[in-house]
Symmetry: C2
Subunit: 233 residues, 2 copies
DNA sequence: GTGACTTATAAGTCTGACTTTTTGTCTCTG
DNA sequence: CAGAGACAAAAAGTCAGACTTATAAGTCAC
């Protein structure tokens, strides 16, 4: 996670960003730099820096004589980790979680397949270690410990794929998994079948069995999707 | 494409961004705001805005008493369209194209499957229109016209999936397809088999045949991957 | 060598004046 | 009355300079 509030402009972003991504300002809304600066009690320079950042995320557009206009949702940089975090913290958290889970379902099987081809011995070892950690914490309401190993497992898979675009989705997957454990209904121990699947994926990757690693991971993500459908049909 | 050079800080970014993403400044390199401002002949306020943007892309980190340090590649926001564009324009263009093509291969089949479920009649119509446009321009060195329809086709698929994360990859796919036509070896007419596949995908989506749309799209992206392997084994 | 103190440094912040672009309006003319 | 052109106002953009703050690094006593 990046350091939040590193400076005044960071504080402004921590308020404005969530507000915009939450849809508090409908698309086309016009903000004025000076007014915002007054409202947040910062200088115009600081406010301008904040606006520049929002602009780089395509959340707003700054035009002379007009002001800072909010862009429609369809133009936002929805892959920006900061934007993802803001949206996960806001009202459309469920919708965002669903989008990300669908993305996961597409990416992770492919990543697992590549990992079976490219994973280093170290990564294989790490993978089995994570899987064992999941097994060890799969019973007795040790959800937090389980989560740590689950996140680590998927991070290793994504990194071992050798594709940097996949690797950078590690944070996203972490958010989704953490969200599931912390905010959704997850009082019970994790599904034993899912735990077994993770162990098997680790085996398949170690064995270099591309097709099997992909298929098993597909089953894992299918489970995650199913879980969503049960919670919010 | 976003408007380039919208203001002085934009011009600075157009130079600094490509330089950093091209690896001209190795990770850990320290830049100083004042020096940069002098070098680009802009005021410090402008330079600071540019640095803030680079910081939001995780390309650099600004710390007091130290300066602006370049972050390692692994921390960059590689999904930022701007970063993608910079890297595609630079030296590791081939590497970047490969990464994006692999991402495509994971995402597009899934998107096509969802599109078969969710596409509106209008989107289906648009899709067949695009496919027909591809057929019409598949012979006689009309590569530009073909590209336009090809890009439109994949954009519609991604949008029709109903998943906003998928939809926002439209620009990425457009870049990849354009790159293939413009910069890689592509003197001949497109592969007739690929053209046929597109027509069939349009049919499958219209028919609501999820599995078939997914499988056919998988064949399309597999072809794109194979193409890469031929060009750069 | 270790710890506390000092200092130099570069980012961070604020302010006020000035410039530039753009849009809405107003008028002039056909 | 409509269209073209001139005008004025508004808001972002730019700049320069002074000041503050955090902190890495060096210094000195112990």
């Amino acid at each position: 996670m990046t350091t939040p509030g590193r400076g005044l402009h960071g504080h402004v972003l921590d308020t404005l960003g969530p507000a915009i991504t939450a849809g508090e300002y409908p698309p086309g809304s016009v903000l004025r730099t000076d007014e915002l600066a007054q409202h947040f009690e910062v200088s115009r320079s600081v406010m301008r820096e904040a606006v520049r950042v929002l602009e780089s995320m395509h959340l707003v557009e700054s035009r002379r004589r007009v002001g800072v206009t909010v862009r429609p949702k369809t133009e936002w940089n929805v892959y920006d980790p900061q934007v993802i975090r803001w949206r996960l913290a806001g009202a459309d958290r469920p919708h965002q979680l669903r989008s990300l889970t669908v993305l996961r379902s597409a990416v992770e099987p492919a990543a697992a397949g590549l990992a079976a081809k490219h994973a280093t011995p170290e990564q294989c070892a790490e993978l089995t270690e994570c899987a064992l950690g999941m097994v060890a914490n799969s019973r007795g309401h040790k959800l937090e410990e389980y989560l740590v190993h689950d996140v680590a497992f998927h991070r290793v898979i994504l990194a071992a794929s050798g594709n940097e675009m996949f690797a950078r989705l590690g944070d996203v997957v972490a958010e989704v998994l953490a969200g599931r454990t912390h905010h959704e209904v997850m009082f019970e121990d994790p599904d034993p079948a899912a735990v077994t699947l993770h162990v098997q994926v680790a085996e398949a990757v170690r064995a270099g069995d591309e097709a099997r690693a992909e298929e098993l991971t597909r089953q894992i993500t299918a489970g995650a999707l199913q879980e969503l459908d049960i919670l919010a049909p």
